[in-house]
């Protein structure tokens, strides 16, 4: 008889390990259901890498599914609301230029495509795409929150994700998993991965807890990739030829004044050979420089980072993090699946790291193989899907670089070289010179970056295209005008009613949000 899956062993803590544990334990009610057991083993000596302090809006659903109160999460993880990203100096490098990639899709995007209509009307009036089609960019500009204190937990007026302290997040999830969800937590060193004759992982050897058997293993061991990378030797697909950044320098920067406004979006500012992220938490900012060491020395990169931060950086030290961009060719092998950094990593330009963890865990938790036999088919589906996601994310990240008109360094010129542009992206860009991005350009049902994201970046960066002669422009003009008017009306209403971001964070800290 086919073996039932009863014991799931997660190797590695950190955000990936604990999100995985929480979702599975919550989905299968492990605390009161003897049918499934979840164990997480993590090493005391391996710290949390803290991949990105930004999430996607999907995190709201993930937390809710884990039975977590948003108020508790916000308070415990020093979290704030994130409504998208602003990309400064990416297009021509001048100090005033920039654009938003908000989390709200354009108004009316389910009914019609506003790209051509924007070109025909609003662009000529000097209104940028993000501000013409939706109200969220205006909220970001004004530093206003995406909801108010009367909006229930996880409810939104404008779509939002979070900025958070990744170390506190992992600790918060750990306490929730162990205290409420029935996850067994072991702190120990993994000394050996034991394989069965059929190639499955049969168990792990540990220093203090001996041999631990399980039916399914989740490799959340970070860059070490203990099982998928080391035990199975799954090759790593490098994408260094496409995305050149290979290093990051990170700093935790206090606010000049404790009540300084908190930005409600990630600020991404292009530099000579990379870009700087700037994320606002309640008590500090997370600021870091992602760069290509082939184009700039580490010392020069640190100097650019310090220049960006200004005098506040004087007594702070920067932590250097190597970036190896790419992914494991296969991330579910036999009875083991890699989640998080063990499966791959890309520069945090669009905060995709935690989103990919959630996406993997959604699949695993919702379609947990009932038996070992079912695993083969599910893993095949999973691997096809994830290879697709990795390739599409790489294309979308490259889009930010390929559309630049910067001429100030080899980094930007090299990024435009056609041999560095993935074929899929080059093909789409050719099409989009004449046709706006559309849902039909994205075959996958659950595409991570779909056409609205491309619209925001392309129009934000002045992609050279002209859709004004599209016959639909005349036919849909009335409808488009209505959506533009709605966006303008919502901008007026939202900016007059929503509170400053810091005020809301303070109110939540004091009163909490209601569940309904």
């Amino acid at each position: 008889m086919d073996k039932q899956i009863e014991h799931i062993l997660i190797v590695g803590g950190g955000s990936a390990g604990w999100i995985t544990a929480a979702r599975i334990a919550s989905r299968y009610d492990v605390a009161s259901n003897a049918g499934i057991r979840v164990t997480l083993i993590e090493s005391q000596s391996v710290g949390t890498v803290g991949v990105g302090e930004g999430t996607w809006p999907t995190m709201r659903n993930t937390l809710r599914k884990c039975g977590i109160s948003e108020t508790e999460f916000l308070r415990s993880c020093d979290a704030t609301f994130k409504q998208g990203a602003r990309f400064n100096r990416w297009t021509d490098g001048s100090s005033g230029e920039g654009y938003y990639h908000p989390l709200n899709p354009p108004q009316g995007s389910a009914q019609l495509n506003l790209s051509g209509h924007w070109m025909a009307t609003k662009a000529a009036q000097g209104i940028d795409f993000a501000n013409a089609v939706d109200f969220q960019a205006a909220l970001c500009d004004a530093g206003l929150a995406p909801k108010s204190i009367t909006t229930p937990e996880y409810g939104a007026i404008a779509n939002y994700a979070y900025h958070l302290d990744a170390v506190k997040f992992a600790a918060f999830l750990r306490d929730h998993c162990v205290g409420k969800l029935g996850v067994r937590h072991i702190i120990d060193e993994v000394t050996k991965i034991s394989m069965a004759e059929n190639g499955d992982v049969s168990g792990i050897e540990t220093n203090a807890n001996g041999y631990i058997e399980a039916d399914m293993f989740i490799d959340c061991s970070g860059f070490a990739s203990l099982i998928i990378g080391q035990a199975y030797g799954v090759p790593f697909v490098e994408c260094h030829e496409v995305l050149f950044c290979d290093s990051a320098l990170a700093m935790q920067v206090p606010y000049a004044r404790p009540d300084d406004p908190i930005a409600t979006h990630t600020i991404s500012t292009a530099q000579s050979s990379g870009w700087i992220w700037d994320i606002g938490l309640p008590t500090r900012k997370g600021i870091g420089h992602v760069y290509s060491s082939a184009h700039i020395s580490h010392d020069q990169a640190e100097a650019e980072l310090r220049a960006y931060i200004g005098p506040l950086a004087a007594n702070l030290s920067a932590r250097r993090i190597p970036i190896r961009s790419g992914y494991r060719k296969t991330i579910w092998v036999k009875n083991c699946v890699a989640v998080g950094l063990s499966g791959g990593f890309l520069e945090p330009l669009e905060a995709s790291a935690l989103m990919l963890v959630e996406k993997a865990v959604d699949f695993i938790a919702d379609r947990l193989p009932r038996t070992r036999g079912a695993m083969h088919i599910l893993s095949k589906q999973f691997n096809i899907s994830f290879e697709h996601h990795w390739m599409r994310i790489i294309e979308f990240l490259k889009l930010h670089y390929v559309l630049t008109k910067r001429e100030d360094s080899d980094f930007w010129r090299d990024n435009r070289r056609s041999e560095s542009v993935p074929d899929g992206l080059a093909e789409k860009l050719e099409l989009w010179r004449h046709h706006p991005p559309s849902p039909d350009d994205f075959a996958h049902a659950n595409e991570v970056f779909s056409w609205p994201s491309y619209q925001y970046v392309m129009h934000g960066m002045g992609f050279e295209a002209d859709y004004r002669r599209d016959p639909l422009i005349l036919a849909e003009a009335h409808q488009a005008a209505r959506w533009f008017a709605q966006a303008a009306q919502m901008t007026k209403t939202a900016t007059s009613q929503l509170p400053p971001h810091r005020d809301l964070i303070d109110s939540i800290s004091r009163y909490g949000l209601q569940a309904v």
């Binding site: 108010s148 204190i149 009367t150 109110s507 009163y511 209601q514 309904v516």
Partner: protein
């Protein structure tokens, strides 16, 4: 502006304490103390609304479907038998000064003047007997509001509060959806763990909950009053809980 009353500065103030409909016709609701539920139930739908600064639920009597208009004010008459303390207190309210609560007033309110109505202070600048009684009522009301908050808190803790959406189909073809109202989810009461249900029954929370639920019938009264005012009529009204 709400300020603490001071015999030196406000010693000559008088308050017109008679009911003045113009002071309440622009109120969409009034906050209730726990003990007021019984009387309010005879006239108004009782619901919860969120406080704009803290997001906390407040127990309220609903006067209409707009935040600044009471349907009960019609033809210079208030069409109900009983008024909540939140209305009858007029411009008086308690004000915190340090740790102490003292009586204060919205001194810009037109019901306060130097002539006519109840004197707030004696010629010797001591609180009048009228003000002493009014202050005692305000203090009792404060405790009653705290009891309402405790009632609401127990319901929140037991996950019994749910959004109430009211949809109005009007005779001019408009469909209006009223949001921001909350009530008790009766189905959730039925699904309570027995031990929690007993606890809530014994501490009076379930009794209050059933009182509140019974006032949903008063939405028909709101509909009746709405139609008695000029403008389009409500042809159909639906209440949905937990949506």
């Amino acid at each position: 502006m709400l300020e603490a009353l001071d015999p030196q500065r406000h010693g000559d103030l008088h308050l017109k304490s008679d009911f003045d409909i113009s002071s309440v016709e622009n109120r969409g609701h009034a906050r209730l103390g726990f003990s007021e539920m019984v009387n309010a139930a005879a006239d108004y739908p009782i619901i919860f609304m969120k406080d704009g600064s803290s997001g906390a639920f407040h127990l309220c009597a609903l006067f209409g479907f707009e935040s600044n208009r009471s349907l009960y004010a019609l033809g210079q008459i208030w069409h109900a038998n009983w008024l909540p303390m939140d209305i009858t207190r007029g411009p008086l309210a308690l004000v915190q000064t340090g740790r102490e609560w003292v009586v204060g007033a919205n001194t810009a309110d037109p019901r306060l003047s130097k002539t006519g109505g109840q004197a707030l202070y004696t010629p010797e600048r001591r609180p009048s007997s009228w003000l002493t009684t009014a202050t005692a009522r305000l203090l009792a009301h404060r405790e009653d509001l705290a009891a309402a908050d405790a009632f609401t808190g127990a319901l929140v803790k037991a996950s019994l509060i749910a959004p109430l959406k009211v949809e109005l189909n009007l005779s001019d073809g408009q469909v209006r959806e009223i949001t921001g109202l909350y009530t008790i989810n009766a189905l959730a009461i039925q699904q309570l763990e027995v031990s929690l249900a007993i606890e809530l029954l014994r501490n009076g929370v379930l009794g209050g909950a059933f009182n509140l639920l019974a006032t949903q019938g008063q939405f028909s009264r709101l509909r009746q009053l709405f139609n008695a005012h000029s403008g389009p009529d409500i042809l159909a009204m639906s209440l949905r809980v937990g949506v």
